[in-house]
């Protein structure tokens, strides 16, 4: 059952991404990208990351893509002409993408058991439950403390310094955006 749901959303995500890069109108592109992000949110929930799924909708669809739409409409780009590159670049892109896909699609064969065997370098003995004890531990933590608590504890303990650094990054981004968007610097 969840297998079927996963593949439905996977096909929806790939179709949305394909249409996003092929649409001539930037607004249509943004809308298809939003549909891809919604499908990805559903897939996150299927993978057991409910909080990340919600944040995907709130942050990506609700904030980032809305900023994109604001800028597209501010610049009045809605009836743009085709901006595809020439046939030479298209050919080169097809070659590059095929090579990249061949490399990356090797990932499709991975199961937890296979990954455990490769990481432990002992194909006979490796048991995913022992090699990936951390995953099981965090699942128990999520069951005990709730999804948000299980994520908040490491965020504010182990990852406190990176967390503070991202706040500096956001401050720099705010200042940068305001300075760049002013009419006269």
């Amino acid at each position: 059952m969840s297998e079927a749901v996963f593949y439905i959303f996977a096909v929806a995500a790939v179709a949305g991404a394909t249409l996003c890069i092929l649409q001539r109108n930037p607004v249509a592109s943004a809308m298809w990208l939003m549909s891809t992000m919604f499908s990805l949110a559903a897939i996150y929930v299927l993978l057991g990351a409910e909080l990340i799924g919600i944040l995907q909708i709130l942050v990506y669809v609700g904030a980032i893509m809305v900023v994109f739409l604001f800028v597209i409409m501010l610049l009045n780009l809605t009836h743009a002409t085709s901006d595809m590159r020439g046939p030479g670049t298209v050919g080169a892109t097809v070659v590059i993408i095929s090579l990249l896909l061949i490399e990356l699609l090797a990932l499709w064969r991975y199961t937890p058991r296979r990954l455990a065997a490769e990481l432990a370098q002992a194909p006979v003995l490796a048991d995913p439950a022992t090699v990936f004890a951390a995953g099981e531990l965090s699942r128990q933590e999520a069951a005990a403390r709730g999804v948000v608590g299980a994520l908040a504890a490491p965020l504010f303990q182990i990852y406190l310094v990176p967390f503070e650094i991202t706040s500096i990054l956001l401050l720099a981004a705010i200042v940068g955006a305001v300075v760049l968007a002013k009419r006269k610097i």
Binding site: G48, Q56, L75, R85, I97, L104, L107, A142, T166, A173
Partner: protein
């Protein structure tokens, strides 16, 4: 939740989405669509993090939060740059933006 599920299919899907993002960056000349393709690539990477976080614990989810923050900062600054360039050139077509080409 039972044990890890969909590891291979999720990694494969993220590979396909990442490749589509690269294709978009290479094919389009509209700077805004190019930015959206970069967001698509970041989303694909997030999917990889979430899929592997099933095995390696909550660190993967926290990395996704950081990627989202960086994506938001990047979108804000990048779109401000596009606005500034549009005021100068009246266009967001990358073919008309060749000041650094010399």
């Amino acid at each position: 939740m039972t044990g890890p599920t969909f590891l291979g299919p999720a990694l494969g899907l993220s590979a396909v989405l990442f490749s589509l993002g690269v294709a978009g960056v290479l094919l389009r000349r509209n700077a805004i669509v190019l930015f959206m393709c970069i967001e698509l690539m970041l989303n694909a990477v997030n999917l990889t993090f979430v899929a592997l976080a099933q095995l390696h614990g909550a660190s993967g989810y926290i990395m996704v939060l950081f990627v989202m923050t960086v994506a938001a900062a990047e979108a804000a600054v990048g779109l401000a740059i596009i606005l500034a360039v549009f005021r100068q050139r009246q266009s967001v077509d990358l073919q008309n933006i060749n000041l650094l080409r010399g």
